[in-house]
């Protein structure tokens, strides 16, 4: 009988009332029980069932894309998701933004002593659901427990591998003057949703995080327009930071048209209230695509027919500019820069 498959401890985990304690990370039976009853049962797949420390698998043909991301979001539960679903979406999206088809993920947990097992179970279930929806398997993992006061409930790291099909060349350095800039939907939803649940914030909102896996949307886009040059998910630092990165990597300028940038009214209102700029608020289910001008309308049409790109829009164009400035035509007809953000706008939104 498997050591993990069925607990040898007399009583099963008390998920309803129990809490994480130091023994859950100590390497003894309690840890084995936590892994078996919580993680393995939720993530179940052929690789985990082998109970090795490492997963062994064959990748489909193509170049391998690999990424890692750590998640420390506070609060861990927010409207539209939690740290678990976010941890899967984040890494899946990073792989997809390389033009890759995500295949396998790892999951590392740092748990703080005292974390309710019920919360952990909910988070793990969300991860399992998110992985299933995105078509990836969580094939290996790790759990550590830190003393109370040394963590913030739970931190999760996910790493992932995927495969980039031949003929796809995506990179932040590939934008060329004349290219057009597209986005798949409204900006700032995630940051504002998380912000609204901060303990020192007392505004309520209907805004849900946009946290979602974008690999299916990317597949659809690349099948129709393999010539897409840049894909990037504007997470921390939002659209503003991401476009500045691309402009610098490609050695170009970018000009946005404020009137074309989709932002929900509720997000605009919340940002007005808090003194934030939606262009710098984090997203977890959005992507920026840059493609040659002749492909842009086709790409936009493909995005808009996809469930995750209904509000897609062409929001700007790439210019020649050795200073690599990102500028924006404002809605009243002036021009301003969209600069890197100074300091922090929203701490720990992912």
């Amino acid at each position: 009988m498997s050591i993990l498959g069925k607990s040898r401890l007399a009583r099963p985990l008390d998920i309803a009332n129990g809490r994480v304690d130091m023994s859950h990370g100590a390497g003894g039976r309690t840890m084995i029980q936590l892994i078996g009853e919580l993680f393995l049962s939720a993530f179940d797949n052929e690789f985990l069932r082998r109970e090795h420390d490492a997963a062994i698998f064959q990748l489909p043909p193509g170049r391998v894309v690999m990424s890692t991301d750590s998640f420390v979001v506070t609060p861990t539960f927010f409207p539209g998701g939690n740290i678990g679903s976010l941890a899967v979406h984040g890494t899946v999206n990073d792989l997809a933004m390389g033009g890759g088809v995500p295949q396998y993920l790892t999951a590392g947990f740092i748990l703080e002593e005292g974390l309710p097992l019920a919360e952990l179970a909910t988070i793990v279930e969300s991860m399992a659901d998110a992985a299933r929806d995105a078509g990836v398997a969580i094939v290996t993992g790790d759990t550590k427990v830190v003393e109370k006061g040394h963590g913030d409930g739970i931190y999760i790291n996910t790493s992932g591998v995927g495969v980039v099909p031949d003929g796809i060349e995506i990179g932040g350095e590939r934008a060329l003057p004349g290219d057009l800039v597209l986005v798949n939907g409204t900006l700032g939803d995630h940051g504002v949703a998380v912000m609204s649940k901060r303990e020192n914030m007392s505004f309520s909102t209907q805004i849900l995080s946009d946290s979602q896996a974008l690999n299916d949307l990317v597949q659809a886009m690349l099948s129709a327009v393999p010539g897409v040059r840049v894909l990037r998910d504007p997470t921390r630092g939002g659209l503003g930071a991401t476009l500045n990165e691309i402009a610098n990597q490609s050695g170009v300028g970018i000009e946005l048209d404020e009137a074309q940038i989709p932002v929900r009214t509720e997000v605009k209102s919340a940002c007005e209230l808090l003194g934030l700029d939606p262009l710098f608020v984090a997203n977890e289910g959005k992507l920026i695509a840059i493609c040659p001008p002749e492909n842009a309308e086709n790409l936009l049409a493909i995005m808009r027919t996809h469930r995750k790109g209904k509000s897609a829009a062409i929001i700007g164009r790439v210019l020649e500019d050795s200073r690599c400035f990102v500028r924006m035509k404002t809605q009243i007809g002036g021009t301003r820069m969209v600069d890197w953000m100074a300091g922090e706008q929203l701490p720990r939104i992912c």
Binding site: L274, G275, Q331, G333, G334
Partner: protein
């Protein structure tokens, strides 16, 4: 929300731009000061300068609360946080303002001081209630807009009998600063800063009303148009200033009638008077000592006065000599004329307060407007 969109309407903006162009006399220049940092920010963020004729120039004023706080006061904030086992609460903008030897609250926090950024002084009150064994100090900054909430919080703390809450008051007053700008002359007897009028404060005026500006029209012969912070508000007020200048009139006009009435907010004025009294003098960065230009907590509320409750050792206040924040705040020089602008002074590496706050003239110019200048060296990122 529609309210906001309405004041950013592209068609109306274009109409106003045409009206401004038509009203402008090409044979002269117009120099208007927007007193408030909120207006400075709006002008930069919406690119309003692009919609103005070349001969209409906007001079940025000193109405940025953290910018006018002298270095010595920043040092006191840092000293309070680091030399006492207390929780120091303040508004975000103050966190990164460099004091003497570039010490700042954000650096103090990294060195284990308990500094907390709050959106409202009421959050600081709550922190005091939640931490009954610790002293909580709210480091209060700002013009007349943020003063009534501070007064209300002190009254609430007294009503609650809170013993662990106090306020370090740095509230300043708008009219004395405007007077200081208009009343400063060079050795040759010409005004330090030549102005044709003011875009008057928005939120400040909602509290104090329009009457306090009458002296600038009647005594100094400068038109004042009180304006909201939306781009159309600013453009409309500029148009009114141009028309007044052309007519040779100097009057106080109120463009921001949706929020400002002539008397202001009587209730807010009453609680401010109850809790605060005017200091005989206060040192401003850039403007120097200005008589009767700031508030302190009245004796009746001295139990809540952190200036009395805590002693702080501060270094001799030292400003960076090359930093021209002072002249920028007076409108005497523009941000990009400062030798430090962009190299090494940027929002990521501020040498002076005007580069820190989003309402600071240097930060606004750097963040939103530097593409207009040639030769500004882009910092490595």
């Amino acid at each position: 929300m529609k309210y906001i969109e309405a004041f950013r309407d592209p068609a109306l903006a274009s109409g106003l731009a045409s009206a401004i162009a038509a009203a402008t006399d090409p044979s002269r220049t117009y120099r208007f000061m927007e007193f408030c940092g909120g207006h400075t920010h709006a002008i930069a963020r919406y690119g309003i300068e692009d919609l103005l004729p070349q001969n209409v120039r906007m001079i940025h004023g000193p109405g940025c609360p953290v910018c006018v706080l002298p270095v010595g006061r920043v040092d006191v904030a840092v000293g309070l946080a680091t030399q006492n086992d207390l929780i120091l609460c303040t508004y975000a903008d103050l966190m990164r303002v460099p004091g003497t030897r570039f010490q700042s609250l954000i650096k103090a926090r990294a060195q284990q001081a308990d500094v907390r950024m709050v959106y409202s002084i009421l959050d600081a009150l709550k922190i005091a209630q939640d931490n009954p064994t610790r002293q909580v100090v709210f480091f209060a900054i700002g013009f007349e807009t943020t003063t009534p909430p501070t007064a209300a919080a002190i009254m609430r703390a007294r009503a609650l009998g809170l013993k662990n809450f106090s306020v370090h008051c740095n509230h300043v007053l708008t009219p004395p600063a405007m007077r200081a700008i208009l009343g400063t002359y060079s050795d040759l007897g010409v005004p330090d800063v030549a102005l044709d009028g003011f875009v008057g404060p928005a939120h400040v005026s909602a509290i104090i009303g329009t009457y306090p500006y009458e002296e600038f029209a009647s005594v100094y012969k400068k038109p004042v148009v009180i304006a909201g912070f939306e781009p159309l508000d600013v453009m409309q007020s500029i148009l009114q200033l141009i028309v007044q200048s052309n007519d040779g009139r100097a009057e106080v006009e109120n463009e921001y009638t949706r929020a400002v009435n002539p008397e202001g907010n009587a209730k807010a004025q009453a609680i401010v008077t109850e809790v605060f009294e005017v200091r005989s003098s206060f040192g401003w960065r850039g403007l120097g000592e200005i008589p009767q230009s700031a508030l302190k907590i009245r004796g009746e509320f001295s139990d809540y006065d952190a200036e009395l409750r805590f002693s702080v050792d501060v270094p001799e206040a030292r400003e960076n000599k090359a930093c021209e924040c002072g002249d920028v705040l007076r409108g005497k020089t523009s941000p990009s004329q400062c030798k430090l602008f962009g190299d090494p002074c940027t929002p990521d590496n501020p040498m002076g307060a005007c580069m820190v706050s989003s309402e600071g003239a240097c930060a606004a110019q750097w963040t939103y407007g530097r593409f207009r200048q040639l030769g500004v060296r882009e910092q490595a990122t």
